[in-house]
Subunit: 163 residues, 12 copies
């Protein structure tokens, strides 16, 4: 299981832990974004339905590369729905009805937190000299900040910063 | 939430329940297949790694259409990792080490069961006069039987039916 | 004119009648959807303009296959604008001004009725053992229910089922 | 409804009227060409079936751009099958059997007339200083004359100009 | 050899037998259509040469999916030219010269019979609850009826139903 | 610098002047449209953000062809940001906050004026016998009128012509 | 041979004569450009070889559309190498060695003359009300002026207008 | 039937005979390769299943060009399954169970023989001055030797030349 | 002009002469095929119009490669329409009316002769050890024989070898 | 306007200032490069015209991503031509005639300075922990150094480092 | 030769040395991977043959970008096979027979060392402020670790870490 | 290692030796062409840089097919940089500065020699009856002569054959 590497065993462990955390949240946020994509209502249905579809695609596209980074340096990666449920920090939302603007605001906060967590993981990778994982995260942070921006602007009041 | 339809309310409820069950299992089997794709080892690593990647892609591709079928007839669909965990009948496998052939055999059995469940759901749709959902399942059953076939042949002993 | 077939003459006549009815309504609903695509106004202009364009494309794409199904089994198909006008059950709307939400609601009801009519035609095909026509309709019913869903959600009040 | 423009109101009205006339005939000729595409018979079935399919596609492709030209300068455009029926100058042909050569000759004459009508509309646009609509028509006239040429040559007697 | 399945052993046997029969005829009709594609003559050479090429491609495209359906449910499929020769019901035509219209008429009758045989096989699949095989056949029946239509129209006398 | 041409020196000068004026405004309107694309806010953020991106792309795509038309007939074209600033008639808008609807209305008026200016330039080209430049402008006028239409409809009150 | 048209017989004759003249020159200039493309030498070999290839492609691409315009309105078009030789005004250059700069200058003058001839033909078409042919020429004039510009700049002395 | 050619009648006959022999074997080897593609089993199932699919595609792709070469020079080509059965030298293998390595070895020998037969046919073509047929065979020989190589290496013992 | 080569000066001269002859005929046959493509008439207009377009494209595609082969070995190639006229052996046909079947028969004979000339040129290349030119011709001979075959079959009487 | 972020307000301000400076220079250098692309002359016209087109495309492609990075972290970005003029450090060059080599040398120096400015901005981003902006700049620095290299080599004397 | 840059001369020298070392090893490992791709044998021939082809492609794709990075900052890069031989640290393997698993193990170790060398070079670039070269290496390290992972898993014993 | 073949052992040995020689020179000339591509200078930098890139790509593309031809007939092929160095006849050029024209002349001579060597190898293949290898070389000789032509023309004095 221990793919040969010039990184130290300690470095591998720390990077693996950081990336597995991001991976669990990616699956959780993916499904939450899809949930809202499916249960949207109101005048902006098509516009937001498409936006959430693009965002969920973008989130999902991070999962295989994150998991394989862990394996390339010899770490263990996530294994099941059960393990996602245990590691995720993004909260599920099973409410029967969520108004569209609240959907956007909630996802905005989830994405903002995810960007912060990625920036932390980036430091872990840097310290571990795992520059390849760090570089991967640079792109994902940009995407995550883009999602936050779109959700912020689409959910705010004209002329103010409130929803 | 109740998209207008000429199907009866009872029909909608039964179809929604059947499809949500399949949806939860699709997510669970998707992640399990990916799990084995990531943790494979041995001489056939590349060959099986690719096979499981194709299979996980194929399973994942069923999720949005299944969920949207439910919404098109006005039902509620799955909402979160937590709900997947509650509804899934496919069992997680978090073992640290699984020999390649056992991976294939376990997935083969999961897929075989999934095909049977889909055939049951097909009858539910037929009875409910939801011919569009039924037609969708016909393709998914074919794919699932194809996965079962590949996993069966790749995991059996030369000259016999055993693993 | 009578393409050779193993279907009975009676079966051919019934299927042809059912499909020609759907065909006339497809042309009528196509032009009505385009009408609203061209005369839309208000804040959601671009979003709905695009949605109605996609929907009109989808409706139009059913016409040649439906007409050719009739010919493949030896029936006569629709011949002219005059014949469309005679057979259509979808009502023209030549109003000078229609508010956007009413446009969506009116199309939603037209599509809902079209799905019901297709489901009836599906039974006619099944009874006539014309499984190829039936299979074609399964896809069109799915598309029609998708249009109904989008129009329903985009035209309803936040928090309720009314327009 | 009156998209802002530097064209005079009178110019808009005249251009709109000319283009809506062409639009109605485009729909009528489209369906007539399809009618013959569906009910053709005889040795050249495949060849003419394909030719009429290409021609109907080409005619249909003019409809959305013509309608949107009218809207871009603030005019009202066609709204329904009923309005097509009222405005069309192309005659429906609902005959049960039309010999192939007569089909080609009839369409040839319809297309020849359509080219002449387009040339008249081009002058209306020029007079109204609507050079964008005029430019659009230049391409459609070329296409229409191409259809006339093909139908003429394919329907004439070897060595003469008669059918 | 017995891919695991929830279908009964009896169902598998019946479906396999029906599909292997269609498979043998597909190979035989493929080669016969190519034979005529190669040995055509006369004024319509290019037009019919292309038509028969498209038709042979369409027939050939059914062979691998039919054979693999049998294997996916654990049946044995066709193995050799010799087995095709034994099972085929389509008759070889090794004549040195066949007039073009007779080529079309002969293929028209072969395709008509093939559609009828497919419809019978569809019932076998339905009874066996093999909905995936049934769904596959629905598309092939449509294609076969299309070939019959084209061959019928291209080979009939203007104004009559005779060749 | 004087590319050989059969146009008179006077014609070249007039066409060059007219096209350079359009070119400066194209750069100015491009950046203004991008400005609003970047600083949009409110419920329709994604929809208008995309619309303004498409519009800025369309405007930008006119710049190289306009400049090269001038060079092909031997005129001098625009050289720098400073020259754009000097020649532009479109006004910059550096406000910190502009409500979405005002953004659309302001761009609508800019585009309306641009279409009028292009129509004037078209006459200059016609008089100069530069039919190639005139033809280019015909397409750009159509695009500009399309942008005006979209901005008008998206910014007007339901049921009226006001913003 | 006389494709039906609403243009007068006199108009057809004049347009056909003008276009056939351009057609003959297009073939002659095509081959001359290829001649230089094949027999170039010197430091800029690759650069000019590619430029002349693009230019010859562009010239060749005008031939079928020009010829078919003549046929669409019922005129006779060019028939052979012999007829090209008789009608061409572009002079052949069969010299064993032509210095690169002289090649460019000679082609520059040929193209300049061709643009002037096209502008004359454009007037003929306008007078004949053949707006479709006129529109075609507008694009070809632009291309021809582009070739002239490239050949002029590439063949002139730095700091002057001489070769 | 005798396409005009400058080849002698004797040459045509010899080339036709040689190519028809290759054609029959191509059909026989195509189906045998498919047979093994369908009935494979064991650990390398997916890898060999794909390899045999590529090989059967490659073999099949030779059939139409070979048959049309014969027709282009005026020869008669193969007509039916019956004629394939009569001319083929490749042996059918209808065994219920063939171990994977034996499948590969058997196909390896079939392909080796086919390459030798093609080399002989190449000489026949060369002698007949049919350089176009000869050139076609050069590519097919390369492909056939590639198949032989892959089958040889995949079926041999590590460290030896035995299966 | 004398590109360095290991071929003898004599070989270069002979190959250049042979290829320039083929080149002149390619241009002449190209234009003759286009001539008939433009002036066709009768029932098969579209079918033959397309066939002759494909054939003229195929002939034209040989010209640049043939000319460049000559230059690659240091020979001089064709330079002008005048030189084509001098070297061509294909006869121009400027007749006002040519019946369709005679068009096909005349082109068939031209192509048959061209194939024979190419086979001769192939021997010249072989003798000169210019295997690259020889290989190029092998493909062109195949194409030319294909054109001959199509023209032969399309122009012959049913049941005989006469036109 | 303040997109939520975990970056400090101070960090956002510094990054925004640095990126807006780069953005203004990108617009200025884009137009200067186009200016030279349009007004080039001399033997290398086509080669340098293409090179400057590629370079201007590459520069332009940085503008939207740079501006959106600023917005994603909540900063204000550039708004108008006037603001570009105020912030740009690249100098306009409105000279009537610039010799080709001087064009290249001037752009070379502009690009060299731009690379240095980007490297400074990269440090600002790093210090602000904005790793996504930093990563974006890494690619732009590579492109800018590539442009400098090409301009340097193309403008230097053979055998020396001077222009 | 000294492309202008704001990097110090010392920085350029160090980066150039580090990258040239990687470049030499890339060529050496490329050819070694191809060597094994060509001389493989045994049951997994096709699977490993494809894997090594993908890996050699990936390695080769690094060579031009690495060499051009050196040139963009004004350094000298590698010049010949002889210089590769002098600088390479990867060892050639010219053995007549290498068992498949040993091939994989040997390449695994070569790739592992290459990743370590790249990580060192990354630090050199970082210290030299050459962030563009550093960023390039981040991607190459990821690819190299991926190759190591695949080679490790494919060559290890089931249930252990040994070959 | 000895792929089964109908070629004699002696033939295999001779072909393998000839092709391995060409292979070594292909690698050496590839790197030399890249060397010059990287170290070019002067006014034609971009033009020649691109030309040498195309030429190196073309040379490189011959290596895998040449090596695999050897393996398909059971020969041993080249294994390492060391073996390339031993077999190459193309001379390395590690000079610090080579004037552009000398670069072209040197490559011209290398390519001329390579064409001659390929022609010799072609004879070896012909004698060995390995027509597939011979056919491959026919294309490579054409490409090599094209490179020689381009390098010759681009490096010669205007009006003469000297550099
Ligand atoms: Fe992967
Ligand atoms: Fe990076
Ligand atoms: Fe969706
Ligand atoms: Fe169905
Ligand atoms: Fe126009
Ligand atoms: Fe179905
Ligand atoms: Fe125009
Ligand atoms: Fe050959
Ligand atoms: Fe060849
Ligand atoms: Fe340009
Ligand atoms: Fe980075
Ligand atoms: Fe060949
Ligand atoms: Zn993966
Ligand atoms: Zn969805
Ligand atoms: Zn149709
Ligand atoms: Zn539209
Ligand atoms: Zn298959
Ligand atoms: Zn440009
Ligand atoms: Zn044409
Ligand atoms: Zn064929
Ligand atoms: Zn060329
Ligand atoms: Zn943007
Ligand atoms: Zn390069
Ligand atoms: Zn290879």
């Amino acid at each position: 299981m221990n793919t040969p590497t010039d990184l130290s065993a300690d470095a591998v462990e720390k990077v693996a832990k950081a990336l597995n955390g991001l991976l669990a949240d990616a699956f959780a946020l993916y499904l939450k974004t899809k949930n809202f994509h499916w249960h949207l209502s109101g005048r902006h249905f098509r516009d937001y339905h498409l936006m959430l579809d693009e965002q969920s695609d973008q989130i999902f596209a991070t999962t295989d590369p994150l998991a394989e980074r862990v394996r390339k340096i010899g770490g263990r990666t996530l294994r099941s729905i059960g393990e996602v449920a245990k590691l995720q920090t993004i909260k599920d939302n099973d409410e029967a009805y969520v108004p569209p603007v609240e959907m956007l605001r909630e996802l905005m906060n989830d994405n903002k937190k995810m960007a912060a967590a990625m920036r932390k993981a980036h430091e872990v990778c840097d310290d571990a000299k795992d520059v390849a994982s760090a570089s991967l995260l640079e792109n994902y942070i940009d995407d995550t900040e883009r999602r936050t921006w779109f959700l912020f602007e689409a959910s705010r009041q004209e002329g103010g910063n409130e929803a």
